[in-house]
Amino acid sequence: MAQHHEPNRRSGISRRRILERGAAGAAGIFAATHFQTLHHLAFASESQPNSEQQLADEKAAHDNAAKEKAKAKKRIKSVIQIFLWGGMSHNDTWDPKPGTGYDYLGSFDKFIPTNVEGIQLSSLFPYLAKQADKFSLIRSMTHGNNGHETAAYLMQTGHKPGDRLAYPSVGAVFTFFKREEYQGLLPPYIVMLQAAGRFSEEGFLGPAFKPFATGGDPNAERFEVQGIVNRGVTDQRQKARRELLDKVNLLGHGLASVTDIEAAEAAREKAYALILGPGREVFDLSNEPAELRDRYGRNTFGQECLAARRMVQAGVPYVTISFPGGWDTHSNHFATMRQQCPQLDRGLATLLQDLHERGLLETTLVWCTGEFGRTPKVSWEPPWNGGRHHYGDVFTVLVAGGGFVGGRVLGKSDQNGEKVAERPVYPTDLLGTFYLLAGIDTKAILPHPLGIEARVLDAESEGMKAAGLLDELL
């Protein structure tokens, strides 16, 4: 594990290290078939550092290694995506930079070790520090885009923004490919509490793959899920007025043998399975022990994490938690962080622990990031008075479960967290690894209404950068 913290300089030595690691990580067949390529790599790198050919070879080596390793893994069944809308600072959280001074650290100059030697976090994350063996950090995530919508599109689709196609998000794609497999009652793609709004998650896949937004608040006495749990209507009244509807629904019942009407009526029965039947129990958090609810944190985010676990337990393929409260801290940065980080820490740490204890983490991918990081240097001047701005050059992503090993750090940012220092990871590398672990072919064609050829990922023809799948974390 320690070798992942070793400098990965573009030199013969580190190339050999990759070679060793690759050979050690995969079966003998791999070593035999790829030895030649890798040998060539080691040789070429000394004469022509950073050449395009070398980068392409490196990417191919990563891709191949990842594909080999993925063969031994169970497929991802569910995904929990925690989206930190607005962009969370990496310096202040999961890529701490001790000793960079007040201009970079601001008031967060304390750091804590974790239960994994060599991994350090900001002292704002004591609970996650105890679970570091369950997650890995990618500290060299980069796309260089500083606009909310375009960066969010990049991080959630892996496609180039501003192209003429509006691609679906990873959640919609995942749901699309799980449509045969998933036989549950709940919507297959759920977002708590509201969809992002400015970014169309379903893209051209259409409304069937639009996420179901729960609304309500799981931290309230009753989690009033939009359309499922309704304030002020008792079960008794629900049942009574349903009977009234049966009595007046002459056309629906009278022509129920007409296929379209039968389908509409069936869909209503289905909705009632959620309103009055077993479906809604998933949203009833009072079924959980009070002690566990406390551990998740008695706030909206904490209880969203708990609700997400219950949904995953019920088989829901994709759950997005849009962190309540944004991270777009141009001003009032430090106060906002002080308030939100402890909630994120508690909720996420407990979620990982809980999934692990129930044996769900192996097949459940949890990933957490915003659309970008924030400027490493604090803007102390007015009107920001201690703020951080959009920053897409480098930031950190947390991944756990679903085939990813825990307790590792991939890549490195430079001294102040301003540039990628080692092993860049692009959106297409990240999402490509997710799809790999989910058994989704990234070259598969998605159905476009006009018959336009659109693939799950298409970095090459879109001219997007890619540095290879994340074999180091598998």
Binding site: R164, A166, R179, Y182, Q183, G184, L185, P187, P188, R198, G206, P207, A208, K210, F212, G215, Q226, G227, I228, N230, R231, R237, A240, R241, L244, L245, D246, K247, V248, N249, L250, L251, G252, H253, G254, L255, A256, S257, V258, T259, D260, I261, A263, A264, E265, A266, A267, R268, E269, K270, A271, A273, L274, I275, G277, N287, P289, E291, P449, L450
Partner: protein, 1057 residues
């Protein structure tokens, strides 16, 4: 849904204009209802009630099981937590007790060994260094002593030399001291003189001042003297006048007294009396005169006094100056006296001192001269000088000698010091080495001690850890042992609960099945009576003749819809709105035989018809400000306005199409130019594809390559050019592809050339010869050929070809589209998929409609009227046939969910509420006035979550199927149970008013039915509401709001029918 498992996906079947598949049971035609056994319904009802009872019991049985399960869960969680904690502690302790302890012990022992070695080495190194230090010290000592002695001797000699030198110089020194003293006294005397002179100067100044003041005083007093004299004279005169006046007064009084006495004295004659009176009068006159003189004297005296008084201040200043100067002078005189004395004394002292100094100097010089004289001084030199000279010579010799001695001794001392230096350095080096060795030794000792301590401590800790570990491990194992039985218990309870749950779910499924059986049976017996008219359908126009002939050949007998169904249908289809309760009632109750045609005519002339059909056209033409069309808000509004006006004015369709194809100008000002801008792919191929979809109803992406390519040349000369206004864009004919040339914004060759001349810059394309543009030979998709002349916009050439009655696509596409919008399905399905292998269901019908349109000047309203007034449009929604041919031949009205916008407006209409429509981009956000209907929103970017959920067109492709009129679980969840719908119903002022209008329950029920379903309730429905009120679950307004809820969730509300 009653068989198989219900999942999220099973409900995702599209409810729209898609296929209605085979119908399992043929529905009876009205009047031919099969006489079902009367007990069938009763049986279904009994089965339903029994199932409900069974389900209720199963549900009740669940409660204790659930509680037991939760209890077991809690116990398990607590035990697991304890076990986890203990395990955690054991693992922590295990650290030192296990391998880690061994490792650390090893490390500590290694530490100690290393420290011991270090200590030994330090101990060994120290003694030789100490010895070296002692030797160095011994070597340095005698040298130090020698140096000390030499230094002392040198210093003594130097002191002696100095004393001797002083003695030799004593005369010289005395002379010099005397000179110094004389100089000092001279300076004091000079200072005294200076001081004296300054005082004298002051004295002179003040004397001058005093003299000046005295002179002024003298002059002023001279001026004052006459005034004083005048005053004295005036005083004298006054005194005299006073006396004179007093005497005159006295005389006058006496005379008056006397005159009075005489007058009273009878003895006196009148003359006497008269004389006396005259005398008195004279005296009085004299007195008065004297008094006047007195007054004059007084005035003169006052005047004089005034003058004297006025003079006095003039005297004050010189007087004061004089007195001040005099007092200063007195003072100065005293000072001068003292200063004078002091100066004299100082002068005397200085003189004396100078004399003494001079003498001493002379003497010293004489002694010096005598001492120097060779041979000895002559006899003229006094004896004492000669003695002194002799003494001086001796003293100088002594001084020279002692100086030489001192120098010799200093040299000896320096040599001793030089000899000492290397020994000292050696000593320092030895000392520092010895001290370092000592320090190393003490450090090594400390480290050694620390290593010993650490080892001991570690051993202790390991022993403790072993002990703790064993205890913790034992505790952990004990705690862990408690978990499995609890887990087993919890699993068992869960299994029991799940089993019971399954039973309850099964019972619930039986209930659902029985419930549906019952209500379906019940409803199917009543539906026809409600929806259908007993009148047999007769053909109204030629459409009906064609359609009915076809139906006849299929063996289908069509049925007319009821008036209630028709009024709702016509409103929804023509103006996209529900009829009001009053409108519905009036229509239903009207005896007019021609009322359906009259209603169609009225609605087609309503501007709301333009609103509604403009919305549909906006889908096709992609009126949207933002992604992916990106018209920009102003342009979207301009485009929509152009569409709306075209429809409102019933613009002939050929003109409508030509304007779309050939307009040039600003996107903000000429709405129709946005036709090309709304096509995201602005290549000639992309534009050809978009134009063909919209105006030819065909998808050229599926055409053979060669035919597809024919269209591109017509759209290869369209220019798009920005202006200075933000996001304004000019669309124009740009044959030279010169849209990079500045200023070239107008259409046509000439203006481009003019712009080039005006700006004096040559755009890229002009480098090509103009001749290349001339006479392009092209072919059309129908195979015909033409030449595009160089002076014609190719778009116009295309329009000329397209807009002709005989064009294979143009008229066909529009009549089919209008038919589809009216009837719910195209004669060619889908309406934008015209191709050879997708033939029309009824070619005669299509041909007839094409002919009607082209022969009536492309009058769309005529066409719509033809369709909406046909009997075919008035057929029942109930399909009484088995063949799928029936549906595609319009044997019954196509039921389909109302569009998102229409549904939103309908919900607002029945509740009198409103929705918020906004666009999130571009900022600032766009908001639409609250009372604006969703149907009239121009811009597809302005939306709400409701419109999105209910499948409003994304306006990205211009295809008909972009609008998704789905009725699946997400839509149902919203309609059945969302907070928004609940709020709309509960706070609706309209529902409140309908109830508050009073009357029997039946009357209120009627009002709600007319408002929401545009019909009157049946007796059974009135009874159902009576029963609901009696049930008492919802009371008062809540009960009526539940009825409204049930009606708006019925398919009769949600589907056009």
């Amino acid at each position: 849904m009653t068989n198989g498992r219900v999942t999220w996906w099973t409900a995702k079947i599209l409810v729209s204009t898609c296929l209605i598949a085979l119908i399992s049971n043929v529905l009876p035609i009205r009047g031919e209802e099969p006489a079902a056994p009367p007990d069938e319904l009763a049986q279904a009802k009994a089965a339903y009630e029994a199932a409900v009872q069974a389900a209720r019991e199963a549900e009740a049985a669940l409660v204790p099981l659930r509680e037991a399960m939760q209890k077991a869960d809690v116990a398990l969680a607590a035990a697991s937590k304890t076990a986890n904690e203990k395990r955690g502690r054991a693992n922590e302790a295990k650290g030192l007790a296990g391998e880690q302890g061994v490792q650390e012990l090893k490390r500590a022992e290694e530490n100690l060994t290393a420290a011991e070695q270090e200590l030994a080495a330090a101990r060994e190194a120290k003694p030789p260094l100490d010895q070296a230090l002692a030797e160095a010290r011994a070597a340095a000592q005698p040298l130090q002593d020698a140096y000390n002695a030499a230094e002392k001797a040198a210093r003594e000699a130097e002191a002696a030399a100095k004393a001797a030198a002083d003695a030799a110089n004593k005369h010289e020194i005395a002379a010099k001291q005397a000179a110094d003293r004389a100089n000092a006294l001279r300076r004091a005397a000079d200072a005294a003189q200076t001081s004296l002179r300054r005082l004298q100067q002051l004295q002179q100044n003040f004397q001058k001042q005093r003299d000046l003041a005295v002179a002024q005083l003298t002059q002023l007093e001279a001026e004052k003297k006459p005034l004083d004299e005048a005053l004295a004279a005036a005083n004298n005169q006054l005194t005299a006048a006073n006396e004179a006046a007093a005497q005159a007064e006295k005389a006058a009084q006496e005379a008056e007294q006397s005159a009075k006495q005489i007058a009273e004295d009878a003895t006196k004659s009148e003359d006497e009396k008269k004389q006396a009176a005259t005398a008195a009068q004279e005296k009085r006159k004299a007195a008065e005169e004297a008094k006047a003189a007195l007054n004059q004297a007084q005035a003169a005296q006052r005047e004089s006094q005034k003058q004297v008084d006025a003079f006095s201040p003039k005297l004050a200043r010189p007087t004061q100056q004089k007195s001040m100067a005099e007092s200063t002078l007195a003072n100065l005189a005293k000072q001068l006296e003292a200063a004078s004395t002091a100066a004299q004394t100082a002068e005397a002292a200085a003189g004396q001192a100078a004399q003494e100094a001079d003498e001493k100097r002379k003497r010293a010089d004489a002694i010096q001269a005598a001492a120097k004289a060779e041979p000895a001084a002559d006899a003229n030199v006094p004896q004492d000088i000669r003695d002194a000279a002799k003494e001086l010579v001796e003293l100088q010799a002594t001084a020279l000698r002692t100086a030489e001695e001192a120098a010799a001794k200093r040299k000896a001392a320096n040599e001793a010091k030089a000899a000492l230096a290397p020994a000292e350095q050696a000593l320092d080096a030895a000392a520092s080495k010895a001290s370092a060795a000592a320090q190393r030794l003490s450090q090594a000792e400390a480290r050694h001690q620390a290593a010993i301590n650490e080892l001991e401590d570690l051993k202790k800790r390991i022993a403790e850890a072993k002990q703790t570990y064993e205890a913790n491990e034992k505790a952990a194992q004990e705690a862990e042992a408690l978990v499995p039985p609890l887990k087993q218990e919890a699993d068992q309870r869960r299994a029991e609960y799940m089993a019971a749950r399954k039973v309850a779910d099964e019972k619930a499924a039986i209930v659902d099945h029985a419930r549906l059986q019952f209500y379906r049976l019940s409803a199917s017996r009543r539906i026809a009576r409600l929806m259908e008219s007993p009148e047999p359908p007769t053909p109204t126009n030629h459409i009906d003749e064609i359609v009915f002939a076809k139906l006849h050949s299929l063996g289908i007998q069509p049925v007319l819809c009821s008036d209630a169904v028709f009024v709702r249908r016509a409103y929804l289809d023509i103006i996209g709105q529900l009829p009001s309760a009053e409108e519905a009632r009036a229509f239903i109750e009207s005896p007019d035989k021609n009322k359906r045609t009259a209603l169609v005519d009225r609605l087609l002339n309503d501007t709301r018809h333009a609103d509604y059909w403009a919305m549909r056209w906006s889908d096709i033409l992609k009126v949207k400000a933002e992604f992916p069309v990106k018209l920009w808000p102003n342009a979207a509004q301009a485009y929509h306005r152009w569409i709306w006006e075209s429809l409102a004015q019933n613009k002939p369709y050929d003109r409508f199409a030509r304007e779309l194809l050939t307009s040039s100008g600003s996107n903000f000002r000429v709405g129709s130019v946005n036709c090309y801008r709304a096509i995201p792919n602005r290549t000639p191929e992309g534009i050809a594809s978009g134009v063909a979809l919209a105006l030819m109803g065909t998808r050229i992406d599926f055409w053979p390559e060669q035919r597809r390519a024919t269209l591109s040349p017509f759209f290869s000369q369209i220019g798009f050019k920005p202006t200075s206004e933000w996001k304004e864009e000019i669309v124009f004919w740009d044959p030279l592809r010169s849209n990079t040339a500045p200023g070239s914004t107008a259409a046509g060759c000439d203006s481009v050339a003019a712009a080039v001349t005006a700006t004096n810059s040559i755009p890229q394309a002009l480098a090509e010869p103009l001749a290349e543009n001339s006479g392009q030979e092209v072919s059309f998709p129908d195979g015909s050929k033409t030449v595009i002349p160089p002076d014609r916009d190719p778009r116009e050439v295309f329009a000329d070809w397209l807009i002709r009655p005989e064009n294979p696509w143009f008229a066909k596409a529009i009549v089919n589209r209008v038919w589809a919008w009216a009837m719910g399905r195209g004669i060619i399905h889908e309406p934008d998929d015209i191709r050879d292998d997708n033939p029309p269901a009824n070619p005669d019908l299509l041909a007839y409609l094409e002919k009607e349109l082209t022969t009536h000047g492309y009058d769309l309203k005529y066409l719509k009227r033809l369709i909406f007034t046909s009997t075919t449009y008035q057929l029942s929604p109930i399909p009484h046939y088995q063949s799928p041919e029936g549906m595609v031949n319009f044997a019954s009205y196509m039921m389909r969910r109302v569009e998102a916008e229409v549904l939103a407006d309908a919900l607002d209409q029945i509740t009198a509420s409103s929705d918020l429509y906004t666009s999130a981009v571009p900022e600032p956000f766009t908001y639409i006035p609250k009372d604006m209907r969703a149907v009239v929103i121009a811009d597809g970017s302005i939306s709400s979550s409701f419109l999105t959920l209910f499948g409003r067109s994304a306006r990205a492709t211009g295809m008909e199927n972009e609008r998704i009129n789905e009725l699946a679980s997400p839509q149902w969840l919203y309609l059945l149970n969302s907070g928004q719908i609940q709020l709309k119903l509960q706070t609706s002022p309209k529902l409140r008013a309908l109830v508050a209008a009073g009357g029997s329950n039946k009357e209120i029920t009627e009002r709600l039915y007319l408002t929401i379903l545009s019909r009157l309730p049946t007796d059974e429905e009135v009874q159902a509401m009576e029963d609901y009120i009696k049930l008492g679950v919802a009371k008062g307004q809540d009960a009526w709001s539940d009825l409204a809820w049930a009606l708006m969730n019925s398919l009769e509300f949600l589907l056009r029918h």
